[in-house]
């Protein structure tokens, strides 16, 4: 269970980053939009270590979303190298990428993306279904994950019976249930009011303290300030990479 901390009072903990999880080298991405070629990324280098808390910022068109898709193994670079836990994923095919996403990456979306007709428990179980975990263990782990985000008493509620903040917590439980290497959140507070948003950020803080690696993609300074490191993109290049 988490104690809802007032954000200002949350003591900022710093941890020594661990092993290298992500290493991106000279990654470029081209899109063909009709006759035009768009350079979404023009050669990006990033390294992310275990138990880092990182925010990716940038105005729209900066390549922020493209980088996120790349980090999330939803897309592959046009050129460059992307090592995830030492494995080059830049040339993987669809199903291999699905495997990586399933085991290594927990996604949190702006719009929560929960299955509307399934209860919280089943939503959280879903990555485990795809991982081939048996029903009994699945339930147990999903329960555990929901308890960990403070929703132990809401497991049989459907998304439409939950508040926005609770939905995002279900999504976070779902992202973490398969014990991924990174938690990748895309504007996680974008659809929430600021109070609920702060609650979610407090939850991220707690997850970071528990040793998770968190990457938040956002355009809000307030949100990015929670992270220990901010990567700023502009025009497909990293403009600044600063640690606080």
């Amino acid at each position: 269970m988490i104690a809802p901390l007032p954000p200002a009072a949350a003591a900022r903990s710093y941890r020594t980053p661990g092993n290298l999880v992500i290493r991106i080298e000279g990654v470029t991405k081209l899109y063909r939009m009709g006759a035009e070629t768009v350079h979404a990324l023009r050669g990006v280098n990033v390294e992310i270590r275990r138990n880092e808390y990182l925010a990716i910022m940038g105005p729209s068109g900066s390549g922020k979303s493209t980088l996120m898709n790349m980090l999330g193994c939803l897309d592959t670079p046009t050129a460059g190298r992307y090592d995830f836990n030492g494995k080059n994923v830049a040339h993987m095919v669809d199903d291999e990428l699905a495997e990586i996403r399933n085991r290594e990456i927990g996604f949190v979306f702006q719009t929560f993306n929960l299955l509307p007709r399934s209860d919280a428990l089943h939503n959280v179980e879903l990555p485990l279904v795809y991982a081939g975990v048996g029903p009994a263990e699945r339930r147990e782990r999903a329960f555990e994950a929901l308890r960990n985000v403070g929703l132990g008493d809401r497991v049989h509620h459907r998304p439409n019976e939950l508040s926005g903040g609770q939905r995002q917590r279900v999504a976070i439980a779902r992202a973490l249930v398969n014990r991924p290497s990174i938690l990748l959140a895309d504007e996680p507070t974008g659809n929430l009011d600021s109070r609920t948003g702060e609650e979610i950020m407090a939850l991220f803080e707690q997850l970071y303290d528990q040793g998770n690696t968190i990457i938040v993609v956002t355009h809000e300074e307030d949100i990015a300030r929670h992270a220990r490191r901010i990567v700023r993109l502009r025009d497909g290049l990293i403009e600044r990479d600063e640690r606080s």
Binding site: N69, G72, L74, D75, D94, D95, A98, E99, R101, N102, R103, F107, F109, N113, L115, R117, S118, L126, P127, V129, Y130, A131, G132, V133, G134, P135, R174, N178
Partner: protein
């Protein structure tokens, strides 16, 4: 392996919650499949019923009896080749029987002469028309297909002497002597009193044309006293082994040619008939029903398949974002493909089950309203219709499901 099973059950779970959520749409979509399955099962039931009824009728003729007659049991365009054939004689039977006895390992057991003609009969005030009279001898007991329910068939002595005795079909007995025992009563046939010595058990109708219960069996010699030779005489020949009917027919042809003293170059001047002839006549009818049924089935399944393909495309479109989410969570192509295929197959299976239920109820209704109609609902039909439903689902669901499985996760997630 276990992962595939979990994905499978997950897919079923999604499919059913999806169908429940869109119940109306799913039912309307399944309509084509329902009609198709009803058509194919009703057709199968009809053909089955015809077969059963037909075999029941043929059993009345005896499946181990060959009929020697002037005319064959089929339409002959060259009637002039038949019309001048010599009549069948009673003594042919005797001579055939001597040949059978003299032949080692003969497939033929006995030849019995049977004279047939229609007549009306009377008993007291009751007059019955359209009764079939069969005049025969005591050997008839060896070829008769009906049980003698009451009394006996006539004896050798009675037959040879042409005694006025008779055996009644069950319907004749009931109509002439309602509520009374018919044994010992007398029946007026063309002014001659025949005393009833036996009653046959109920046999039923032959192809709905002629009731075997509307017959009277009497000694052929007694019948000839009344009508002389103005009757249709035939020989019925019992075969020892009914699985070798064709060989028996050949043997009988040879024996009959000998009896008739036919030269080798001559064509047979008689016909040997067996129940097979009826079967051949029925085949085109069955083929007709099958072709019509398959046409309707094919057409409605085709329409149904297009409907299901369409609804699956819609379903994929509607749930593009969900597909993206599932892919982000680690669903592989195969998983997504399976999910939508199972959804399409489930709709088809439900349609198939509804169609089967409709056919079943229809069959119950028909057999309730017309009990004499042999309606049989077979398990193989159930199997066939389930397989057809599943195939329809797979064929119609494949293209949209494949499209869904190949969606780019980034595009799918961005889809609103």
């Amino acid at each position: 392996m276990t992962r595939a099973i979990y994905e499978f059950t997950e897919s079923f779970r999604i499919a059913f919650s999806q169908i429940r959520a869109n119940a109306m749409r799913s039912v309307l979509t399944a309509l084509g499949v329902i009609i198709g399955i009803v058509a194919v099962t009703l057709m199968g039931t009809a053909i089955n019923g015809i077969d059963i009824g037909f075999n029941r009728s043929l059993a009345l003729l005896g499946d181990d009896v060959l009929y020697v007659q002037r005319w064959p049991w089929r339409r002959v365009p060259d009637w002039w080749n038949y019309v001048n054939r010599p009549a069948i004689q009673v003594e042919h039977a005797e001579r055939l029987n001597r040949i059978f006895e003299a032949t080692p390992n003969s497939l033929l057991e006995v030849a019995v002469p049977v004279g047939a003609r229609g007549s009306s009969v009377k008993a007291g005030d009751v007059k019955l028309g359209g009764i079939m009279l069969f005049g025969t001898n005591a050997d008839y007991s060896r070829i008769v297909t009906a049980e003698v329910a009451d009394g006996r068939l006539f004896t050798d002595f009675e037959a040879n002497a042409g005694r006025p005795v008779c055996v009644l079909g069950s319907a004749v007995a009931e109509n002439l002597f309602p509520g009374r025992p018919s044994l010992g009563q007398s029946v007026d046939i063309r002014g001659q009193q025949f005393s009833v010595v036996g009653v046959l058990a109920k046999q039923g109708e032959f192809l709905g044309l002629f009731s075997f219960d509307n017959q009277i069996i009497l000694p052929l010699n007694a019948m000839r006293k009344l009508w002389g030779n103005r009757m249709d005489l035939q020989l019925r020949v019992k075969v020892t082994d009914k699985t070798r009917l064709m060989e028996a027919e050949e043997e009988l042809t040879g024996a009959m040619r000998r009896v008739r003293g036919q030269l080798p170059a001559e064509r047979d001047n008689f016909s040997i008939n067996q129940q097979q002839a009826f079967k051949e006549q029925l085949d085109p009818v069955k083929t007709g029903i099958a072709v019509a049924g398959l046409f309707i089935t094919g057409l409605s399944l085709f329409v149904g398949a297009i409907g299901i393909m369409n609804i699956t495309f819609v379903s994929v479109k509607e749930r593009t974002k969900e597909i993206g989410t599932r892919k982000a969570l680690g669903a592989r192509r195969r998983t997504i493909l399976l999910q939508f295929l199972i959804e399409a197959v489930s709709i088809c299976l439900i349609g198939g089950a509804v169609g089967l239920a409709i056919t079943y109820v229809t069959c119950l209704g028909i057999s309730g309203a017309l009990p004499e109609l042999p309606v049989e609902f077979s398990s193989s039909l159930m199997l066939v219709s389930m397989v057809v439903s599943i195939l329809t689902g797979i064929i119609s669901g494949f293209a949209p499901a494949l499209g869904a499985s190949r969606l780019d996760p980034v595009d799918a997630l961005r889809y609103e």
